[in-house]
Assembly symmetry: C2
Homo-oligomer: 365 residues x 2
Amino acid sequence: MSDNKTVRFGILGCATIARKLARAISLAPNTTLSAIGSRSITKAETFAAANNLPATVRIYGSYDQVLEDADVDVVYIPLPASMHVRWVVAAAEKKKHVLVEKPAAVDVAELDRIVEACEVNGVQFMDGSMWLHHPRTGCMQELLSLSHSHSKSVGPIHFIHSSSTMPTTPEFLENNIRVKPDLDSLGALGDLGWYCIGAALWAKGYQLPTTVTALPDVTRNAAGIILSITASMQWDQPSQTIATIHCSFLSYTSMDLAVCGSNGSLHLKDFIIPYQETSASFDFTLGAKFVDLHIGWNVRPEEVHVANNLPQEALMVQELARLVSSIRDGGNRPATKWPEITRKTQLVVDAVKKSLELGCKPVAL
Amino acid sequence: MSDNKTVRFGILGCATIARKLARAISLAPNTTLSAIGSRSITKAETFAAANNLPATVRIYGSYDQVLEDADVDVVYIPLPASMHVRWVVAAAEKKKHVLVEKPAAVDVAELDRIVEACEVNGVQFMDGSMWLHHPRTGCMQELLSLSHSHSKSVGPIHFIHSSSTMPTTPEFLENNIRVKPDLDSLGALGDLGWYCIGAALWAKGYQLPTTVTALPDVTRNAAGIILSITASMQWDQPSQTIATIHCSFLSYTSMDLAVCGSNGSLHLKDFIIPYQETSASFDFTLGAKFVDLHIGWNVRPEEVHVANNLPQEALMVQELARLVSSIRDGGNRPATKWPEITRKTQLVVDAVKKSLELGCKPVAL
């Protein structure tokens, strides 16, 4: 179903994650999948059939044809990072709004070309950090909000730990696009590390750290691509905050986030992909102290359950569609919030890489 | 009540934590508090009265008198770290078994003098890491055990994160023994960091790391004592494991431990002091994967509750008393397990300090 209010999506490429997004577009209100393009029309047709895409979806044998389609408002670009600058700029020049998979670019220089093209062409930019759109994230943000009275807030943040690891096969570690120098040269840092760095920045209200330091434990594949890395982020103002991040393609499925402030802490173990699709939870304590003799605590963690009416990726699509509508139909300017978040994340990704190149010296931002 | 089987404790000093141990000694079976000594007899008397110590407890105005007391088998030494070498060696020479608060010594050189004195004199040495004696710790160890079939074990460990932070007052940060160069020169690293490092070593079955690296975010008080520090431990054999640790006197009450292996993970947020005294819990997953489309997980964390018949500090006292009995009454040799654990912890503490002195360069062990 498509009417004047519908926001029409096109997808460039048939990446695995495109299946998740195609479903999200079908779930979100007032959005529709209008077109999908692949370099091979057979691949696009196979994708459409395998995912039961409606017959109304136009299937193209090139990315350009999706961008030429006047009935596409937004393109989702799950291509390898090295192709983002070319295809996002091309999309923006065709006045298509863009949703780009992470890492948004191979470095901030390319990202700046991307963001500038979006600005010049008046189109919305957003990266695919789905977890930011889950209502759980908003709930946690409330707890972190310093506008609350001190007793109801975690308080100024002192420490953040965020990790994202997943197991892969030997075949993945040599051949997956995420570990190919000419495709996703940032490896695990750009893929899983994007979330860890993003979570630390989110917890700090998107204040950039003062310095970023890689740890010496990096693991690379034969082509030199990062498979596993640990790093820290340090903020010096207004008071010191430390974040440790760890990401790896060589471990087990995990995605932990812990945030510790002056008056509280929050913890979750599924921050990127919630355990289940219809609700998610996190734990927090506020005002925790040890009881007399230090034989226990005065509080236990409270578990907060947050229901979501749509999966987080559909909420992301819905938010993007809302912005696109307000530009297309309301004459508004694109929201700067999303490219700003992306750029800060990319700056820190770049700084971790630079620290590594400098022998794990701190890199100032 | 004291009979031939009773193990008789003396305490040197009236530190706050001595209250907790006095209670633990009264709770543990077959142990009794026989004597307490302070440099001021008035202080010792006040402590005895405030804590309702039985009239049978002998109260001394010096530490030496406790060591001279023939009816004391074990002494608990919660004195500042700089005094450990003097008083543990003195106790060992009087054939007293020893329970020493952490940090066990100011450095491994002093610890070696301590451990040697205990060996030469045939007395048991143990440090006050209470959490190692909680049955929860044993339960978690089962999950980490590689002797299990792979599907029931966390598998070879890839990543460990451990943090211990607590809020303090400005007065504490200048005057507490734990931040005085002549008393506890290791500051937060020797105090809270002892647990974080100990937990990482525990998870790795007490294999020493290959290298230890401090991060540049250290905070010190005016006297140069560490108030907050972050570090990493790296094992290269048989495969890579990374641990990040963080400890701080400048934050909120937290004590997190996360262990991630090839096939599972476990998490707890109260590893040093359980939320409540009679049971404790931890979470784990085994074999976690994302479901199709990555819209959720195939498992959710299981929460394991472990009841304990005695508080963990009483279980520590009970274990020490068991060893003391077996030496005193059974003619056995002291167990080497406990001083070995202590020495490895101290080695890593020293390496973190050395890395810091070297400008955060990795220190090989």
